[in-house]
Amino acid sequence: MSKKTYATPLLDQLEKGPFPSFVTEIKRAAKRSDASNDLLGILERCYNDKKTHWKHGGIVGVRGYGGGVIGRYSDVPEEYPGCAHFHTVRVNQTSGFFYTSKALNDICDVWDKYGSGLTNLHGSTGDLVLLGTNTDALEPIFAELSSRGWDLGGSGSAMRTPSCCVGPARCEWSMIDTLDINHELTQAFQDELHRPAFPYKFKIKTAGCGVDCIASVARADLSLVGTWKGDIQIDQAEVANYAKAGMNIQAEIVDMCPTGCISYDGKAIKIDNANCSRCMHCIAKMTKALRPGKERGATILVGAKAPFVIGALMSHVIVPFMPLEPPYDNLKDLITKMWEWWDEHGKNRERIGELIVRRGMREFLEHMELDPIPQMVFEPRRDPFYFWTEDELK
C-alpha cells in the first residue's frame, strides 16, 4: 500500500507545549504503520467533525477466549482502510507495572510486526493495551505473546485484569503483599478472566494501605486495602526532627486528624489509638516518625463502579480485617462465594454493587456467612422499616 499523507492542521496544534504529545507518538508510529498513518487521518477528521468515527465493535477474539480483545471498526473504512479494523489487544500487565527492557522490547517487536505500533501504558483497568490491529492478526499476536510468557487481560462480562499499587516493592506503608496477592488472584482465576460467564464485569484492585494509590475504593468491584491493628509506632526523636525542620505539627497533624486522637505538647506526640480510624494522614505526612501498628491484614470492600445505572458507587466495607498470607485461600474462598451469589441473582449488566443495593446487604451477608457489624456502615438506618425472619421472632 502506498501511504497517503494527511494534512493534520488541528492535530499539529497538539504537538506544541511542554507535555509530551500523543500526536507526535501517532506520527512516529505512522512512519512504519499504515494503520497508524490512517489513524492520523481519521483522528484529524474527528477533530474536524467534532465527533467519533468509530463504530461498535463486533465480537472478535482469539480461539478459546471470550475476551481480551476489543473489536473496533471505523465508520469510514474506505477512506482510511489502514484502520478499517482497529482492534485493541489487552495484555495482562505485571503486578505493580514492573518491567525489564527485554520484556517490553519483546512486546514492541510483536506489535511492530502485527499491529499499529501504538500502545497505552496502561489502560485504566491496568492492562498493557496494544492499540489497533485487524482481525487476522489476532491469532498470530496471541501466539507470539503467549509463547513469550504473556497472556491477555479481561474484557466483557468477566473478571477483569486485577491490578495493584507498587506496595511492598517500594513503599514503606504497604501492609499486605499487593503484588503477590494481585498475581495470585490473577493466576487463580484465569478461567474467570478469559471466559466471560458473569452477569457483568468484575474488577479487583489491591492497595497496600488506605492511601489507595490504585484507586481501589473508587474503581473496583472488590477492593483490598491493607491496614493494621495495634498502636501506631512512634519515633519521638523523628517527631522532634520534623518540628525542627519547620513542620507545624499542631496545624498539619494534630488539627487534621479526623478523630482528634493525637495530642502534641511541643515535644512528643501522643496517640489515643483506640480512637484512631487508621486514616493514614499522620503517617503519610510524618513517614519517618510514625509507622502503622504491627498486626497486618486487609479491609475488604465491595461494589465500586461508574455512574450507570443507579449512580456511581464506591466500595463499602464487608470484612474489616482479614489476614492475607499466601496462598490466600481465605480470600479466594470469599471471592468465589461472592460470585456464586452474584451469578445466581445478578441481572444482565448488573454489577455486584448494584445487586447489593437492589437485594439488600442482609441477603448478601447471609450468603457470605458474615455477621453484620457497625464497621460496615457509616450510620445505621433511619426509618423503622425492616424485615424479620421467622427465626428472629422466636
Binding site: L14, P18, F19, P20, F22, E25, I26, R28, A29, L39, L43, Y47, K51, G57, V62, G64, T88, N92, F98, T100, S101, L104, N105, I107, C108, G117, T119, N120, L121, S124, L131, A143, E144, S146, D151, S163, C165, P168, A169, R170, E172, H183, G210, D212, I214, A215, A218, A251, E252, M256, H281, K285, T287, K288, A306, P307, V309, I310, M314, R349
Partner: protein, 359 residues
C-alpha cells in the same frame, strides 16, 4: 522475529512480577522504612537495611508508540540495569540504588527532553480514556484534553509551582467514565445533550430490546412492538448514552450539542476525610478542539481559587467542604443552574435541609 508462529499457550496469566523487580527492590521488598522527597521529580526510599532506592519520574502521554517504549528501555538499560516501571497514573519510573546514578539518570532524561515531575503535591498525569482515538462512545476526545490540560499545568507537574496538596485530574470521554472522573479533584467528562436517534430497522437486527430498555437509568425507553424496536420518551431522556452502549442502532453523538462537563472535589484515599465523589460544577462546555480553551480556562480558574483558599494538605474537596459550595460558586464566579441540582437517585440527600449556610 521468525516468520513461523510459535506455539500458543493459554491461561498462563501474566509473567511473575518477581523477575521484573530491580535488585534493590527485590532485596528490600516489604522492608522499606521511610522515604524522602528530593524534588518533585525524584524521591528516595530507605530500607531497614539502609539501602536506598532513588526514583526518578517522567511524564508519558500514555498513548505512546513502540519507539517511545524503546527509548525508555534504552534509558533503563543505560542507567537502571534494564528495569523500569509505570505508575498507576501512567508516568514512567526509573529506579536506581545510588544518588550519583540518580543524578546522572535525571540529567540524561532532561537532556533527552523528558518532562520530569509528578511526585508529591503536584498535578500528576491525568487518568484518562480512549476518546476519538478509539472509542465509538466518545462525546469528546480524551488524549487531546489531557495534552492541553497538562500543557496548561506543566509547572504544577514539574513542581515549579507548588500546591496545598495533590490535585488529581481525570478525563472521560463519555459517562461510562472509564477514567476516574467520579472521584477526582478536577475532572472533565464528555456528555451529549440530545436524545438518541432511533433506527428501527437496525434495532430490529442488532439489539436486544429488553436489555436496551433496562439500560436506561430514567426508564425513558419502552418497547415498540410494531416496529420490533423501541420508543424513547424524549422528555425523560437525559442523553446519557447508556442505551447506545447496549444497542448500536441508537446513535446519540451530535457535534452541535456534544461537549464536556466539569466536576470537582472527588478523592479516593481515606486520609483525613472519607473518599468523596466529584460534584458537577460546570454542566456544559462546548467541544472546541484542538485545544479546548474553555476547558483549560475553567480548570485554571478553579485551581487558582483553590490554591488561594486551601490549607496545607487540604484536598480540593476538603477545602470546598470546609468553606461550603455556596462559597465555591461565589469565589469561582461559576453560574449555578438547574443542572446543578440533583434530580437522580439520591437527590433528596443533596437538598439543603438546614438553615445554616453562607450568603
Amino acid at each position: 522475529m521468525s516468520d513461523a508462529l510459535p506455539e500458543r499457550q493459554t491461561d498462563i496469566g501474566p509473567p511473575d512480577y518477581k523477575q521484573f523487580l530491580p535488585p534493590v527492590v527485590a532485596k528490600n521488598y516489604g522492608k522499606w522504612k521511610y522515604h524522602e522527597r528530593i524534588s518533585n521529580a525524584m524521591m528516595v526510599h530507605v530500607g531497614e537495611s539502609g539501602d536506598k532506592c532513588y526514583t526518578v519520574r517522567a511524564a508519558s502521554p500514555r498513548l505512546i508508540s513502540t519507539d517511545f517504549i524503546r527509548d525508555l528501555t534504552k534509558m533503563a538499560d543505560k542507567h537502571c540495569g534494564g528495569f523500569l516501571r509505570f505508575t498507576t497514573r501512567n508516568n514512567v519510573e526509573f529506579l536506581v540504588d545510588d544518588e550519583n546514578k540518580a543524578k546522572a539518570l535525571e540529567k540524561d532524561l532532561r537532556d533527552a527532553g523528558y518532562m520530569l515531575g509528578g511526585i508529591g503535591d503536584t498535578i500528576s498525569n491525568v487518568v484518562h480514556t480512549q476518546g476519538w482515538v478509539h472509542c465509538h462512545s466518545a462525546a469528546t476526545d480524551a488524549s487531546g484534553l489531557v495534552k492541553v490540560l497538562m500543557d496548561e499545568f506543566a509547572d504544577y507537574f514539574t513542581g515549579k509551582k507548588g500546591l496545598p496538596a495533590r490535585v488529581r485530574l481525570a478525563v472521560a470521554c463519555c459517562t461510562n467514565m472509564c477514567g476516574a472522573v467520579h472521584c477526582s479533584d478536577i475532572a472533565v467528562v464528555g456528555i451529549h445533550r440530545k436524545p438518541p436517534r432511533i433506527n428501527d430497522e437496525e434495532v430490529k437486527k442488532a439489539c436486544e430490546v429488553p436489555s436496551t430498555i433496562a439500560s436506561c437509568p430514567t426508564g425513558a425507553i419502552s418497547p415498540n412492538p410494531a416496529a420490533k424496536s423501541v420508543k424513547i420518551k424524549e422528555d425523560k431522556c437525559m442523553y446519557c448514552g447508556n442505551c447506545y452502549s447496549v444497542c448500536p442502532a441508537l446513535p446519540i453523538s451530535d457535534p452541535e450539542n456534544d461537549g464536556v462537563a466539569v466536576v470537582v472535589g472527588g478523592k479516593i484515599g481515606s486520609l483525613r476525610s472519607n473518599p468523596k465523589f466529584s460534584k458537577l460544577v460546570i454542566p456544559f462546555l462546548k467541544n472546541n478542539p484542538p485545544r479546548w480553551p474553555e476547558v483549560t480556562a475553567a480548570f485554571r480558574n478553579i485551581l487558582t481559587v483553590y490554591e488561594q483558599g486551601a490549607r496545607k494538605h487540604e484536598r480540593l474537596g476538603e477545602w470546598v467542604d470546609r468553606i461550603g459550595w455556596e462559597k465555591f460558586f461565589a469565589l469561582t464566579k461559576i453560574p449555578f443552574t438547574h443542572q446543578h441540582i440533583d434530580d437522580f437517585t439520591i437527590a433528596r440527600e443533596t437538598f439543603r435541609a438546614s438553615v445554616a449556610f453562607k450568603w
